[in-house]
């Protein structure tokens, strides 16, 4: 899969990249949401791993814009966040998030979410 990682935490970006590349995924990284959105409009990705808090635009604002644009609306999005509130989860669902990975997380949890999204993507096709 081609996966876009969006996070301003470069240490986490690097960790995620290392894990996902082990499983032969192609990884693109962006540290801010505006650049990521521009990238996605021109280069479709199978999945986006998105941080909640980002420079210039929050993850939810990013998600809302992503879903409104036909060029990007079908991307599968996993929100990666330390926000464990049910209200936040429901808000993210309302904005069109597909899955949610609560920090801190283990490699198994990340891979579980990847498997879930892959299955959803297959069902959609």
């Amino acid at each position: 899969m081609k996966i876009l990682l969006i996070d301003d935490d470069t240490a986490l970006l690097s960790l995620l990249k290392d894990i996902l590349e082990e499983y032969d995924h192609e990884i693109i990284q962006r540290e801010n949401a505006i650049e990521a959105l521009e990238y996605l409009k021109r280069h479709p990705c199978d999945m986006v791993l998105l941080d909640w808090f980002l420079p210039h635009m929050t993850g939810l604002e990013f998600l809302t814009q992503l879903r409104l644009d036909p060029r990007t609306s079908s991307a599968f999005v996993v929100m990666v966040t330390g926000n464990h509130d049910m209200a936040a989860i429901r808000e993210a669902l309302g904005c069109g998030v597909d899955e949610y990975l609560m920090k801190p997380f283990t490699k198994e949890m990340l891979l579980d979410k990847m498997a879930m999204v892959t299955k959803k993507a297959l069902l959609k096709k």
């Binding site: 049910m86 429901r90 669902l93 997380f105 283990t106 949890m109 979410k113 879930m116 299955k119």
Partner: protein, 271 residues
């Protein structure tokens, strides 16, 4: 490390108590699992433990609790749960529509993820549940495991293994202690402590029995005895669910595959 006579004795005692087979090289496993127990009771080492348990048999439950595995996941093996939800449950909802009663046993339920997953599948069917008498009996040998399961509170690590975001948001609430399963799910499940190697005293029967990822810990004779016991609790159209690495081959003649695509679900074989 080779077994001392006392360690062999200890492995035998554990087998007799709960059926779990520990290999001759399980010294390190036992040492790790029982470290805090040995410290707390001021027992020098595993060799001394077998003599200790003969003097204090009431401590055996704690040892069994520490030696048995309680790890589980929600919706463990999703192809199994897909077949269960899409084929097995619709079959029983149709077959039991007259008496509107469905009984399920989740044996060796550990911390409750399996019976709660079953309950979530049932609620997905949007039946008029006020008309139905549905009960999921969830059992485990460990009192600590069923106490945690009964409480129904999980960490964010636990709810993120196997549950989708939608399942989490529809079936749990966030409390100060963690993620709590909603009453609409937990009211379908009743927890008890049952040791699978003891004769089943259950008088009522079950439509469906799940005994998943536990037979692997028993010897062949114990597996055969447990499967024969389960078979006696199931009606002629009853369903049996095993874990991914488990099979009935060579253990029971009473079951046949539920369908050719799911190797872990069986129905009672028609005679």
């Amino acid at each position: 490390m080779t077994d001392t006579a006392e360690l062999t004795d200890l492995r035998q005692m554990i087998k007799q108590k709960c059926g779990v087979i520990l290999e001759t090289d399980s010294h390190l496993f036992l040492q790790t699992r029982l470290h805090s127990f040995l410290l707390f009771h001021q027992i020098k080492d595993l060799t001394e433990l077998s003599s200790h348990l003969k003097i204090y048999p009431e401590h055996f439950d704690e040892v069994i609790d520490l030696v048995t595995t309680h790890e589980s996941l929600f919706f463990r093996d999703d192809s199994f749960f897909k077949t269960f939800e899409e084929q097995v449950l619709p079959y029983f909802f149709e077959a039991r529509r007259q008496d509107r009663r469905l009984r399920i046993w989740s044996a060796a339920c550990a911390h409750g993820q399996e019976p709660y997953s079953v309950a979530m599948c049932i609620l997905n069917h949007k039946l008029n549940f006020s008309d139905w008498n549905i009960e999921i009996l969830a059992t485990d040998i460990s009192k600590n495991a069923t106490a945690k399961a009964r409480k129904g509170v999980y960490t964010h690590f636990e709810v993120q293994r196997g549950l989708s975001l939608l399942q989490l948001s529809e079936n749990f609430e966030k409390s100060e202690e963690g993620w709590k399963i909603l009453d609409k799910i937990s009211r379908l499940v009743r927890f008890e402590n049952i040791n699978l190697i003891e004769p089943f005293l259950q008088k009522s029967s079950f439509d469906i029995v799940f005994i998943r990822n536990v037979l692997i810990y028993f010897d062949t004779e114990t597996k055969q005895r447990i499967l024969a016991g389960i078979s006696s609790l199931l009606p002629s159209d009853g369903c049996l669910g095993l874990g991914g690495p488990e099979t009935i081959l060579g253990l029971s003649q009473n079951f046949e595959a539920w369908d050719k695509n799911t190797s872990s679900l069986y129905r009672v074989k028609k005679i």
